[in-house]
Amino acid sequence: MSHIHLPDGILPLWLVIAGWAVTAVLLGATLWYLRRNPEELARRVARLGVVAAIMMVGMSLEVVPIAYHFNLSVLAGILLGPAAGFLAAFVVVFILALFGHGGITVVGLNTLVIGSEVVLGSLLFRAFGRLVGNRPFWQAFLTTVAALAVSTTLMVAIIGVAQINPAEQAPRAVIAFKNPFEAGLFRVEVFTEEPREAEAEGLDLPTFAAVVYTLGAVGWILEGALTGVIVRYLSQVRPDLLPARRVAP
């Protein structure tokens, strides 16, 4: 529920451009960081591509009763670190947009939201390691819930800043639809309605936030539990994939 599930053409142009600009700067920095060590480049690129693919596989698995799909973005942050993880977030968001899942023009903003999950996932995983000790399930669970809560808040903030007012976008019957042969026989002008006074109000942000946080909280817990199970499994089977966890004394 932390994605910006908004289509193209809804958010104001300045916000879309700002999203792309910030994302472009961050992508430039992370690409530079990735290129710093040419010897390691091939291994890192291959790892990054596969982890991005794992995120997409996770997203294609749907929890049927509640139509929720997993992100695995926090897990990507844990496996890749903040810089490479941010790149993976962009790759996933871009490919999903090609499949019509999220607008292509909001890829910049979407990357910032998903990227925040990845970066926070990487940083908080270490922080929670100090807090909960050597308990990988709870370390990953708390990290995921916290990161998703922050990213959802970021999404709500973006919607708030956008000040979406559907009434402003309401059709103005630019191209009328009426019978060209018998002007008096039937005139279909269902799209010519002008916005009413009441429609001048913008989006009800508190209601939007309430809906998103209510649905989101279920998703955070599910995602947190799943990430916890995966990290616990990896800590037993391939501990080398996880960043070193500091055990509390």
Binding site: L41, V45, G100, P171, I175, K178
Partner: protein, 272 residues
């Protein structure tokens, strides 16, 4: 559906698939522009018919492409709840834009093989970023095969029907963990191959085809027309007197050859 996209893009040989990639991208960009800037439901309805015509003409299974195009509309639900009944026409406009834009992207990706799509991006994006897109996309389809095997194994062992939820989640989590471990192994092999080939941040890729014959010109004109009608209100209302009846009629007529092609090939859903 996603795993079929690759198959449709590469294996089908319709007139739409045979168009040169460059003009196809430009046409899709123009259509997308028209949808984004439009404030007209008649136009969005006509564009919907037009895009359906493209899908049918390409010989794609119509229903299977159309269903995911409506997915973004479902995802608008929180926003529509927050908006209430304040502006029903505004709501319809948002849903129309969501569906049309998604259908445009789906039509593009199902008629263009992904290596061609990503190599075109090299003109505007860093090579390393495009390589990552390419690798992720390719790895996705490989891992999807692994995921299918793991899910089948889980289902056969009763792991997916497990109750309570905790056990179900543990089964799914361990299945995904297995996919991750297999994926990481795959990435290590692939990393070694790249190193052996002296990878320095740029995979070899073909260029984008920019042939401009009559079919490509027709596609470009279609895109340009869509952009002009979509941006009508930005152009000072020059088309204000135009009757949308003709626009819808034209788009519906565009559906005819595609529909005939569909029936000639055996019905609504050719691949189950």
């Amino acid at each position: 559906m996603i795993e079929l996209v690759d198959f449709w893009a590469i294996k089908l040989t319709s007139p739409v698939h045979r168009l040169a990639a460059g003009p196809k991208f430009v046409a899709a960009g123009l259509i997308l522009f028209g949808i984004i800037v439009s404030r007209d439901l008649v136009f969005l309805l006509a564009t919907f018919f037009l895009l359906n015509g493209v899908v049918l003409l390409a010989g794609l299974p119509w229903v299977r492409v159309l269903v995911p195009a409506f997915y973004p509309a479902v995802l608008l639900v929180p926003l529509l709840i927050a908006q209430g009944a304040a502006s029903p026409l505004g709501t319809l406009l948002m849903v129309g834009k969501a569906v049309d834009a998604a259908l445009t992207m789906l039509a593009l990706i199902t008629i263009t093989p992904y290596p061609v799509l990503f190599s075109a991006l090299r003109r505007v994006a860093p090579g390393l970023l495009v390589d990552l897109l390419f690798l992720a996309y390719r790895s996705f389809f490989i891992l999807l095969g692994v995921a299918r095997d793991v899910l089948t194994a889980l289902r056969l062992r009763g792991g997916l029907g497990a109750r309570p939820w905790g056990r179900w989640l543990a089964s799914v989590g361990q299945g995904i963990s297995l996919i991750i471990v297999r994926g990481i192994d795959l990435s290590e092999d692939f990393g070694r191959v790249l190193r052996l080939r002296g990878y320095r941040g740029r995979l070899a890729a073909g260029g984008t085809e920019w042939r401009l014959g009559p079919p490509e010109l027709a596609g470009l004109l279609l895109g340009l027309g869509t952009a002009v009608f979509g941006a009508e209100h930005l152009l000072g209302g020059g088309l204000g007197a135009y009757n949308g009846y003709w626009l819808i009629l034209g788009a519906v007529l565009f559906l005819v050859p595609g529909t005939l092609r569909l029936f000639r090939k055996g019905g609504w859903v050719r691949w189950s």
